[in-house]
Symmetry: C2
Subunit: 208 residues, 2 copies
């Protein structure tokens, strides 16, 4: 594979390709053209061919891609050929919903720790997890060598908690709080702010 520097924007598209390919495999399909895949993903065939070319291509001219091979290769590229342990910090409505979310298990994600600081919540059962106190967060994360965390706590506590997570060895944070985190460059953050997401679409609702 010719995998030197791959732009982040390309990496960000690969999980959607993989999701669509998995769906196609479930439907019993074996091969797919870049045109077909593009239509399902909602992009162009040229984009897909260009993105995959960073990793050596995988397709033969005229015959399309083997769905099975492409799934396997994308999983390897994205490091999905293993189980990733993830900690959730904040056991409110959202944290509890995510802890119980059925979509993680068969997609390589193991939610193994759930933290909160509220005495009423610590010690309670959420799905298969017991909520732990944030006081033991650093130790627990180090012990289990957790590298990813999801922040679902109030925005005021987000930065301090994120700093502690990074100190404990976490390298990727999915941030559901309204706070924009300032973290070292080696830490990867995805910020999920429903307001920003809605605002991105309002531009297009201008017409009426």
């Amino acid at each position: 594979m010719a995998e030197d520097f791959v732009p982040d924007i390309v990496i960000r598209r690969l999980p959607s390709y993989l999701q669509t390919l998995n769906q196609m495999a479930k439907e019993g399909l074996h091969t797919v053209s870049s045109v077909m895949l593009a239509e399902r993903v909602g992009t162009t065939a040229a984009q897909i061919r260009k993105d995959l070319s960073y990793f050596g291509g995988f397709g033969k001219q005229g015959t399309g891609y083997s769905i099975y091979v492409l799934i396997e290769e994308l999983q390897k590229i994205l490091n999905l050929d293993r189980i990733w342990k993830v900690a959730i910090v904040g056991a409110g409505n959202l944290g509890r919903a995510l802890s119980r979310y059925q979509g993680f298990a068969n997609r390589g994600i193991d939610i193994c720790l759930l933290f909160d600081n509220h005495p009423d919540v610590v010690g309670t059962q959420v799905g298969s997890l017991v909520v732990r106190h944030v006081d033991t967060m650093i130790a627990d994360i180090q012990e289990q060598a957790v590298k990813m965390a999801i922040l679902t706590l109030p925005g005021e506590a987000a930065q301090t908690t994120a700093d502690q997570l990074v100190m404990a060895g976490v390298g990727a944070i999915l941030n559901y709080t309204p706070t924009t985190l300032k973290l070292p460059d080696h830490v990867h953050v995805e910020h999920i702010d429903p307001v920003l997401q809605l605002q991105r679409m309002m531009y297009y609702l201008d017409e009426d």
Copy 2:
């Protein structure tokens, strides 16, 4: 303003600029250079200048941007100078958490309708809203002229519900379900799938 065709990727960055500028205004700042803004947003000064140039620039060489002017202009561009009504479909943990989310009100978003189909949930109070039955969804959305919706229901029901929302006049959907929606081109969808978001970061966790 020289606003002809603006690439979607530019539009998608503007809400983050705006969020950071609002934060700076709160901190009592009046002007900002593209370098300072870039550092806070986590991008480059050249990127910010290029993005803003689509709308005519706003900055004078050497003096930076007026934070107040920039906030006002970005709000106009993004259609944030009004209140947008939003419906949430699915009153489970996530739907309830979003209905109560404090960050909407002062950022131009009015969650005005909340739907579910479960008899135990319909009629219950969530924050300031009473959960309505999805059977009246189309009529309620048309009556209130709602143009945006958030999907927080099980994935199996997502496509059918989205089709109904579009029929009722919704033009922008924030999709929290695992289902990839197929909708007409004029409808804008933002898909929030925690699995995809985590997978986008796993690529970078390769080292250890």
